[in-house]
Symmetry: C2
Subunit: 154 residues, 2 copies
């Protein structure tokens, strides 16, 4: 299949310098878009939440799509499952996706809460949340998923 | 900034051959991954919903990021807003993102409901929905957003 070429639209400025084991940080960070995109952000401040797509740039290219199964968060007590059944960074196309709360916009800079991307991460796209399409009333998840979040992480 | 190269992991097989004006189709389609990724899907059937990332391959490259503002769904009665405040395909990196209901998996093929991608669309990634992170209790959206979906579309 053909190759697809993307170009980052900006970068994450975050206090997160190193990925901690165990997931999500309650953190405030900023997304600085290239100044030429300031106009393209107009009206975004009317949303409370956004989806941020970014490039997991620290995933070594050689590891992309090599591992087909993993233990979620490397926990051997959880089952070995396919990478597409998890949110691991070891994906064929390591695109990260996080829902964030938008705190404010100033010109080409968005201040957001709950973005778990590392400082310097290239940003690919920003999409508003569409409540009409993006919130199933009820979801079913694997049994291990509940265990993943219930057990206190070290 | 650096260029990023992606490679599709599979394709959408859908009855949708032409994008209709006005949005979402209640449609059942299939995502056929490259056979090498069958193992990477193991366990995905335990989720009810997935996020599908795909390449909006019919967006002309020259239009990428050129338009900075649009009227949502080309409706002049709705305000002119920045492209990042909408889900338009005319984005610098035209990555589509749709939440689908997973109906079944057979080997490397997922049958899904509500995928609004055209037949033949290259698929970039498949992620499970994480209820822990992906469902804000309450979202705020622009006033025009309510009008967009309230008014019956032609």
């Amino acid at each position: 299949m053909q190759k697809i070429i993307l170009k980052p639209i900006g970068r994450v400025h975050s206090p997160i310098r190193k990925k901690k084991w165990g997931g999500r940080e309650p953190v405030v960070s900023e997304i600085g878009l290239s100044p030429g995109y300031e106009e393209a952000l107009e009206g975004i401040e009317e949303y409370s939440h956004l989806l941020v797509l970014y490039w997991l740039s620290r995933t070594p290219p050689r590891s992309r799509g090599r591992r087909l199964k993993i233990h979620p968060k490397s926990r051997p007590d959880l089952p070995l499952v396919g990478i597409f059944a998890t949110r691991t960074q070891y994906r064929p196309n390591p695109i990260g996706l996080t829902q964030v709360q938008l705190l404010r916009r100033r010109r080409n800079v968005l201040r957001v809460k709950d973005l778990d991307a590392l400082n310097g991460t290239p940003v690919l796209d920003i999409k508003p949340i569409s409540p009409r399409t993006e919130m199933p009333a009820k979801t079913r998840v694997p049994e291990w998923y509940h265990r993943l979040w219930k057990k206190p992480l070290r």
